[in-house]
């Protein structure tokens, strides 16, 4: 056990985590250069394209230091606020962390919150200044930030360039020397923690775990404490580049378990694995049931593809237990699903995976958070879709979730960032200068306000020099109203939204304007109205189509023209009809594009 080191990497997007991981694998000869693909650990296409790690993974390396062989387990962590719980579990599985900071960028909010998590879990943090070779590198300044944060000495900071292979051996040596060996007793009852799972279409769910105490042997009867389910450890092993089956995995080590589990929901990140015969009395601390924060409807663009969408969603759920959904019906969109996501990125990822992996084109409706409608009799009704809002006359008030947001930015952008947060109904709570030109701002904000385009706006106003982290703080009473959109007097349920009353007029007006742009002219005039209850608060008109006729139709035109019209007809088939109005799919996404 004294020759095992478990560590993770904490880094902001683009600060070079994946490249560094690649170099470590190369240097320890875990992969040969030929096997090396860039960013090996991110093996979903989507991850590679976005340059971010969506799901965490793990890999084991062998490294000889001063003649002694060591086993290094690198546990990869996702780098987005949507997945902060998963990060906390990965961190809990380690004794050390590499803190990677881009020498030209400095520390970002996400990094800090993950760093705090690591410190909370008593991880030994090894700071690494990456991209030291870049012309824009400011090693002195960024080192100052790191020293401020960690209270370490300047000598503790390793200078590296993952891209150029500089400093890689220093990092490996530091892991051996500075990260403590795991503690634990291989003879105690089995106590292991699930930190991740991956769906394998041939073998079911692979469970990744870290053993704290005891030993797991092949063939053991094991129990997942939280779900109470028991399994046989059909195959256990360690995660090399390929899976390497083993007879046993002892305390301090990291491994995988395959036991024919078919449903991802049975495998909860953070759950404790123990033996059925000799169970541990100590559950691993920190387990949480992950709860979705953002809700939206997902509908097939082509209504006949509902069943196909259902089976795609089921398959997605197999390897993404955090995705929850139930069937939902919309008058405008037909049959679809109400889905819960960890955050907006998670929602985008699900949508993209549906498109790429399952070839489904979908309409996503207005994202919503979970509101609480407090009825006059005191009953709390959770509302995660406008359609679930009870009759206003039966409600005493509505509450909405609030978050505490940490934003780190350059001092020159403080003004615009504060203005943005205030516009989003936020209150500034704290302002701390990390260095002379980097500042950490804390806000309390309604979650609903950051669900839409907050992050994009933040990036724009700060020219990319702002990072965001947030956590849910609780519910607060708010003056919220349900805003409906009507086309020629018919309500379009899929366009309804719950918004703050002060913003309802502006929202209604802009949505009507956007819809006017997106609705094609039809054979009659279309009235677009926004309403709160029966009160119309905004109106736009799409004038009737005045011309759709080609001038010439002679011998050579007939075929071409017929094809053109058939194509137009196909296009119309993808539209939805409310009353007599045909609505293109983009119109349902209009809310996401309000600026």
């Amino acid at each position: 056990m004294e020759h095992i080191r478990n560590f993770c990497i904490i880094a902001h997007i683009d600060h070079g985590k994946s490249t560094l991981a690649d170099r470590l694998l190369e240097t320890t000869q875990t992969v040969t250069a030929r096997e090396m693909q860039n960013q090996l650990l991110d093996n979903m296409d989507l991850e590679r394209e976005r340059g971010i790690t969506i799901k965490s993974h793990a890999i084991q390396m062998n490294y000889v230091s001063n003649g002694t062989p060591y086993v290094l387990n690198l546990i990869d962590t996702p780098g987005h606020v949507d997945f902060s719980y998963e990060v906390s579990r990965s961190i809990a599985a380690c004794e050390g962390a590499l803190l990677i900071v881009d020498a030209s960028q400095g520390i970002e909010a996400q990094t800090i919150s993950n760093l705090y998590l690591a410190i909370e879990h008593n991880l030994e943090v090894i700071p690494v200044l990456n991209k030291i070779d870049l012309p824009g590198a400011m090693p002195e300044e960024v080192s100052d930030q790191i020293i401020d944060l960690l209270g370490c000495s300047r000598e503790d900071i390793i200078h590296a360039s993952a891209k150029e292979g500089i400093g890689i051996t220093d990092i490996l040596e530091a892991i051996i020397k500075r990260v403590p060996a795991p503690k634990g007793d291989p003879n105690e009852p089995l106590q292991a923690m699930i930190f991740d799972s991956v769906f394998n279409s041939y073998r079911g769910i692979e469970v990744y775990f870290r053993v704290f105490n005891g030993t797991m042997n092949k063939g053991d009867k094991v129990k997942f404490v939280n779900t109470g389910k028991t399994y046989e450890a059909d195959e256990i092993g360690v995660l090399r580049l390929e899976h390497e089956p083993k007879k046993s995995i002892g305390a301090g080590n990291v491994g995988y378990l395959i036991s024919g589990i078919k449903v991802a929901r049975e495998v909860k990140v953070g759950d404790t694995i123990t033996h059925v015969d000799r169970p541990t009395t100590r559950m691993v601390k920190g387990f949480e049931d992950v709860k979705p924060m953002v809700f939206a409807g997902i509908y097939p663009v082509d209504t006949t593809e509902f069943e196909e969408l259902r089976s795609s969603m089921e398959k997605l759920q197999l390897n993404d237990a955090s995705l929850v959904w139930e069937p939902e019906t919309s008058a405008a969109l037909g049959f679809g699903f109400r889905c819960g996501f960890l955050g907006m990125l998670h929602m985008e990822i699900i949508q993209e995976r549906l498109e790429r992996e399952f070839n489904m084109t979908v309409i996503t409706t207005v994202p919503s958070v979970k509101f609480h409608a407090i009825k006059t009799d005191g009953k709390i009704i959770p509302v995660s879709a406008p359609s679930e809002m009870p009759d206003p006359t039966t409600i005493s008030h509505i509450e909405e979730p609030y978050i505490r947001a940490q934003i780190i930015t350059k001092s020159e952008y403080i003004g615009p960032v504060i203005a943005l947060c205030i516009d989003k109904r936020g209150e500034i709570k704290n302002q701390v200068y990390l260095t002379s030109d980097r500042v950490e701002l804390s806000f309390e904000l309604p979650l609903a306000e950051i669900v839409f385009d907050f992050f994009d706006k933040l990036k724009t106003i700060s020219r990319g020099y702002a990072s965001l982290d947030y956590e849910l703080t609780g519910y607060r009473q708010s003056h919220l109203v349900k805003l409906d959109i009507m086309l020629n007097g018919e309500k379009v349920d899929a366009l309804s939204a719950i918004v703050h009353r002060d913003k309802a007029y502006d929202w209604g007006k802009r949505l009507c304007e956007k819809l006017k742009e997106l609705l094609p002219r039809q054979m009659f005039e279309i009235a677009i109205q926004a309403a709160i209850g029966t009160k119309i608060i905004a109106r736009e008109t799409v004038k009737a189509l005045r011309k759709n006729v080609l001038a010439k139709c002679y011998g050579g035109d007939i075929s071409r023209k017929r094809k053109l019209l058939e194509k137009q007809k196909k296009g119309k088939k993808r539209m939805r009809q409310v009353g007599n109005v045909e609505i293109p799919q983009e119109a349902f996404m209009a809310v996401l594009k309000l600026d």
Binding site: R521, M523, F524, L545, R546, K547, N548, V549, L550, A551, K552, C553, Y554, G555, G556, I558, S559, K561, R562, L565, E566, Q568, K569, K572, N580
Partner: protein, 345 residues
């Protein structure tokens, strides 16, 4: 090229088995051909096809080509209908659309043609230019009426991608006329011309009684036609459409080897029905749902009942038994209406 065309006429003469009722020289500027070239083609036609006695033989001509000598040749070859690409009686618009002729030349050509009693005539007029105010369009129409020409095609300018206008429009060098103004000019032509005794017998065509183009009418009614020359289209009257290669060199090379140079499109019954709905709706005769039902086994009135009801209520179409015609209001939206009546394949 002329040789190649004559070769193609010979090669494909079996495609039309009935005597030719109409012959049309068009697509480009056939009036540029010399007398002997035209004669070669006419000779090939009469050698390989039967032609009915009163056949309508049309030639598209540019005003600048309508000299007395040329007209004499046209007459001698049996051409009895000239289609004159006038486009406009506004010099600025003629320049804008890169026409070689002037208003003056157009008028001279019209007068020259009319002095030969043998010919009947049609002209093209265009509206919908970004720089054509309504008053000018009216003036063009009035100018046209002075000559008492029995047939006129009236086209709205269509700006298509990958054309000079398309490029201009894309680069904002040219404004597009808005749909309202386009519709108003279309309606103005209808008012002025029908008032003057022309029948609006197809979306873009007006004629005095008995002067309708037989040739074009055969496209709309689904008769067989053979098109020869590069990029020419043919239809067998049933379910096959053919399109010749566009490239001149490839076309002549194929003809030299006695090989046809077309691609074929085989239509399904649904596609044929859709075509007939589309072309039929454009004509004043409209479409006969009973006849379509008989031919294709599909009952338009039943299958599209709600939309047909609505179109009739809104005065886009008029319904008379099984016959369905566009109203004046409906003509502006002919394509929109056609596609609502289309069947899925």
């Amino acid at each position: 090229m002329v040789q190649a065309i004559c070769r193609e006429l010979e090669l494909r003469c079996h495609e039309i088995r009935t005597p030719l009722e109409t012959i049309y020289f068009g697509g480009g500027t056939p009036s540029l051909l010399s007398g002997s070239q035209l004669e070669m083609i006419m000779h090939a036609i009469t050698t390989h096809f039967q032609v009915v006695k009163q056949a309508e033989i049309t030639l598209e001509a540019n005003p600048e080509d309508c000299t007395n000598e040329k007209l004499a040749i046209f007459k001698q070859l049996g051409i009895n209908r000239l289609s004159l690409g006038v486009q406009s009686f506004e010099n600025s618009l003629l320049q804008f659309s890169n026409r070689a002729h002037s208003t003056h030349q157009a008028i001279k050509a019209i007068e020259a043609i009319q002095s030969v009693a043998f010919f009947t005539m049609t002209v093209d007029l265009m509206f919908g230019f970004p720089s054509l105010p309504m008053a000018q369009w009216e003036k063009t129409l009035d100018q046209f009426l002075i000559f008492d020409i029995p047939h006129v095609s009236v086209y709205g300018l269509t700006i298509e991608d990958r054309t000079v206008f398309g490029n201009w429009s894309r680069k904002n060098k040219m404004q597009r006329i808005n749909d309202e103004d386009h519709a108003l000019q279309f309606a103005k032509a209808h008012d002025i011309l029908t008032h003057a005794g022309y029948r609006h017998y197809e979306i873009s065509n007006y004629a005095k009684e008995g002067h309708e183009s037989k040739h074009n009418a055969s496209y709309w009614s689904g008769k067989a036609y053979l098109g020869v020359g590069p990029a020419a289209h043919s239809f067998d009257g049933g379910y096959i459409r053919r399109e010749n290669v566009r490239n001149n060199a490839r076309y002549t090379a194929a003809m030299e080897k006695n090989q046809p140079a077309y691609t074929e499109e085989h239509l399904s019954a649904t596609q044929r029905m859709n075509e007939q709905v589309m072309t039929g709706l454009r004509t004043s005769k409209g479409i006969d749902a009973a006849a379509l039902h008989f031919t294709f086994g599909k009952n338009l009135l039943l299958d599209h009942e709600p939309i047909i009801q609505w179109l009739a209520e809104q005065n886009f179409i008029s319904l008379d038994g099984s016959k369905l015609c566009l109203t004046n209001k409906g003509m502006h939206l002919a394509d929109e209406i056609a596609l609502k009546l289309f069947y899925d394949d």
